[in-house]
């Protein structure tokens, strides 16, 4: 038995009937890691001893099982875990072995008895889309290890795709849950801004960041979001709203649903194989009784530029806390405090991080504020407005999650139009604060997964899940599994 092919609901049943113990389930996760981690390289830190002890404890207690009893979960390494090293894939935090608290999302998982297997690789401080800016290792796509898993939540995507954990948490600032989910053939959800508490998520761009679940299937995803969502007094931007039962929305019925497809999302920058998969999916939605109309999101073209200015400006302040005083690695042999800070940050941060902090500082400086930062915030208003007009008439917006399938590792020849199209597909949902999910909708000839993106209205995750679930149940893409070299088939 492996973690593949079982939903949370099915495992819950097996555990309840004692056909499976917590320890067996956790063993399954670590056995799989022993088998394939050499090739996948998804983890920065493993929590093996703790996890096994926890499982044993759960097996010994006879009290009632909670909602995620004994389920093996992986956590993106920018989400703090009490007493478990949290690095954000940066050397600056390589010695941060003893965080003082669990992020709210992690605490909620633990309260439901999920077991943390380890911390997952990512782009440093979530800045990147391939997981290659990690200062620890290069994570590989389980479908083809010459390719990247996407990013920044690349470890979170690869670990689920490779069956090392049952599900994971990622974070999405400009597509960092959805794009790796698409590249790695799994389901990834970026919830409405404010739905999931950001307390304990190491901030990149606080007005855009959201934690989201990454799972093998849609039902599991809805189940995990139900648990991690909700108001938190430790995050003043978390929404004070009741969390709906998303799993109850999975009726399979989308008759009469109104789908909008932005012209811009199927433009020239999108690879023909991806476009074909999306068009096939749209036909399936029509077969299921939905109507599909083309619309225009004219300002989406400007979203990537606005995103870079806003996210970098916010990052320049978010990352000011890494000063070598309270935690992290302090540079040695320094003359005075300023010198210590400059050297600590200069040595502790990688290129991408330093570049974005400098860009963000430039955009916020008095001479440039209006032309770059404020201009970007105004474009943000227009993008938000455009979506509002669409959602006045439609239930969901659908398009590809990415313009292409996963890049090759080390690729430096990515066409700027492709790169811009990729950003244009994912960042508008962050700028507008909308929920957006990616799920598998086919494979390229080379065997790499293709992702379909469903964007919903604010706090309407229920509709997004209902649509995704109806499509998933009508197709077989989610049943395909990657086969790694030397694996016991």
């Amino acid at each position: 038995m492996s973690l593949f092919g079982y939903t949370i609901k099915e495992l819950e049943e097996k555990l309840r009937k004692k056909e499976l113990s917590a320890s067996e389930l956790v063993d399954m996760s670590f056995n799989r890691i022993a088998e394939v981690e050499d090739q996948v390289q998804a983890f920065i830190t493993l929590n093996e001893e703790e996890a096994r002890e926890q499982a044993k404890k759960y097996d010994e207690q006879s009290s009632d099982q909670k909602k995620l009893f004994a389920l093996p979960v992986g956590i993106k390494d920018n989400i703090v875990t009490k007493g478990l090293r949290t690095t954000s894939a940066s050397q600056f935090l390589s010695n941060f072995t003893d965080p003082l608290y669990d992020a709210t999302a992690v605490k909620k998982l633990a309260d439901e008895q999920a077991i943390t297997i380890g911390k997952l690789n990512m782009d440093e401080f979530a800045m990147g889309s391939t997981t290659e800016t990690s200062s620890y290792k290069v994570t590989r796509n389980p479908w083809n290890t010459d390719h990247v898993p996407g990013g920044s939540s690349g470890g979170s995507a690869a670990a689920v795709a490779a069956g090392e954990v049952l599900f994971s948490l990622g974070s999405d600032t400009g597509g960092s849950v959805r794009q790796p989910a698409a590249f790695s053939g799994i389901v990834g959800m970026k919830p409405t801004y404010g739905l999931v508490s950001r307390y304990g998520l190491i901030a990149f761009a606080p007005s855009l960041d959201q934690i989201g679940p990454m799972t093998q299937g849609v039902e599991d995803n809805a189940r995990v979001l139900e648990i991690i969502a909700g108001h938190d007094q430790n995050d003043s931007t978390s929404a004070n709203k009741e969390v709906p039962a998303y799993t109850e929305a999975l009726t399979g019925d989308i008759k009469g649903l109104k789908i909008a497809v932005p012209e811009e999302y199927l433009g020239d920058g999108v690879d023909p194989e991806v476009k074909e998969a999306i068009l096939n999916a749209l036909q399936m939605f029509e077969l299921l009784g939905a109507t599909v109309d083309r619309v225009s999101l004219g300002h989406a073209t400007y979203a990537p530029a606005a995103y870079y200015m806003i996210s970098s400006a916010e990052a320049s302040t978010s990352l000011a806390r890494f000063d070598g005083v309270r935690f992290g690695v302090r540079a040695e042999n320094t003359d005075n405090m300023i010198d210590m800070m400059k050297k600590s940050r200069g040595q502790g941060f990688g290129d991408e991080v330093k570049k974005r902090i400098i860009l963000g500082t430039f955009a916020l400086s008095a001479d440039n504020y209006e032309n770059y930062f404020e201009k970007a915030q105004k474009i943000r208003t227009l993008i938000k407005r455009e979506f509002k007009t669409v959602f006045d008439n439609y239930d969901v917006v659908i398009g590809p999650t990415t313009a292409t399938t996963a890049y090759k590792i080390g690729a430096t020849d990515i066409d700027p139009v492709t790169a811009n199209t990729n950003d244009m597909l994912t960042v508008p949902a962050n700028l507008a604060g909308l929920p957006a999910l990616s799920l598998p909708c086919g494979f390229s000839e080379a065997g790499l997964p293709i992702g379909l993106q469903i964007i919903g209205n604010h706090f309407d995750e229920s509709t997004v899940y209902r649509v995704a679930h109806a499509y998933e149940q009508a197709t077989n893409h989610h049943k395909k599994r990657p086969v790694l070299e030397g694996e016991n088939k």
Partner: protein
């Protein structure tokens, strides 16, 4: 034309307390110039009458404010646990002034 030069990058890096080498400054200047050139595309959009947006979803302020009551969060010992250097219950840093 380059939007930002090596010296400006070095000045900004100093302002945000990041030590960078000349090679890094040259490289960042080039890459940041490219990003700023892309950003100039935003000028095509008329935003004269548009107000800036800071958040996609705005939380109502009334629901955010709470009583200003001190509560126990972490202890002094915990706060100092991950510090690179400490002394007598304080964070210790190199000399601030000569």
């Amino acid at each position: 034309m380059s939007k930002i030069n090596q010296d400006q990058v070095k000045q900004l890096a100093h302002a945000v307390r990041i030590e960078i080498s000349d090679e890094e400054a040259t490289k960042y200047a080039e890459e940041i110039s490219q990003l700023l050139t892309q950003a100039d595309k935003m000028d095509e959009v008329d935003t004269k009458e548009v107000k800036p947006t800071t958040h996609g979803v705005v939380t109502e302020l009334g629901k955010v404010l709470r009583q200003d009551k001190p509560v126990q969060s972490i202890t002094q010992e915990e706060a100092l646990k991950n510090a690179p250097d400490k002394q007598d219950g304080h964070f210790k840093v190199p000399a601030i002034m000569e």
